[in-house]
């Protein structure tokens, strides 16, 4: 079974530029998550989708971050404009349903903002 796919794996951009990350969850998984993991910290949930609806985006910096999950499958996370403190690994994950099911993580997209 294919895992959670993410791209690109690595991205270096200058501050104030924009960047987009793509995620393809495991087939059939209704719940999709985007986490931000800053070096030395645990993952922090940015946004959680149930099918194509948002169920939690309380920690998403909405002035610069946006995410969508059209058709309830693939998802895109965008940052515009990027700040130095956005340098982190952006992890996409998916699970069958929201609560109590195993969450499977992708390898992450590494962002460096210079």
């Amino acid at each position: 079974e294919a895992g959670v796919a993410q791209s690109p794996r690595y991205k270096i951009i200058e501050k104030r530029q924009s960047v987009a990350f793509w995620c393809n969850p495991i087939s059939g998984h209704a719940t999709l998550y985007w986490y931000q993991q800053i070096l030395g910290q645990g993952p922090k949930l940015l946004i959680q989708f149930q099918n194509n609806g948002v169920v939690d985006d309380s920690q998403l910096p909405k002035d610069r971050f946006s995410a969508e999950r059209l058709k309830g499958v693939d998802s895109t996370l965008k940052i515009q404009p990027a700040k130095l403190e956005d340098s982190a690994v952006y992890l996409c994950a998916s699970s069958l349903e929201a609560r109590g099911n195993t969450i499977y993580f992708g390898e992450g997209s590494w962002l460096t903002v210079v």
Partner: protein
């Protein structure tokens, strides 16, 4: 501020030694999970504990959930270099209906041959 506090932050031991890492909170969790994350990869689930006082064993790893469901520990017996990684605890709060998984900052474990 992390809802789940993990200690120690870093642990370096020799192969064959035992180690314990801790995960503590002032909040009650309906379940707690432990993950291991290796460099360049996403976290991988090791175990889920649900019942207060529950103990689960996975080969040389022993996981315990506190009676009050506010804390957990992971004990590794006779550690091997393959146990090297970032160990993360994560939990679902009892008050969260949508399943928002809260992570601790992790304990970096290094096992040297």
């Amino acid at each position: 501020t992390q809802l789940l506090e993990q200690s120690p932050q870093f642990l370096s031991i020799q192969e064959g030694e035992n180690l314990t890492v801790y995960c503590n909170s002032s909040s009650v969790f309906s379940s707690l999970q432990w993950y291991r994350q290796e460099p360049g990869e996403g976290p991988v689930l090791l175990v889920t504990v649900v019942t207060g006082g529950e103990v689960k064993k996975l080969k040389r790893l022993t996981f315990q959930f506190g009676d009050a469901r506010k804390d957990s520990s992971l004990h590794i017996t006779a550690a091997q270099p393959g146990d090297t990684g970032l160990y993360l605890c994560a939990g679902y709060m009892t008050t969260d209906s949508w399943g928002k998984l809260q992570f601790g900052a992790g304990t970096q474990v290094v096992v040297t041959p």
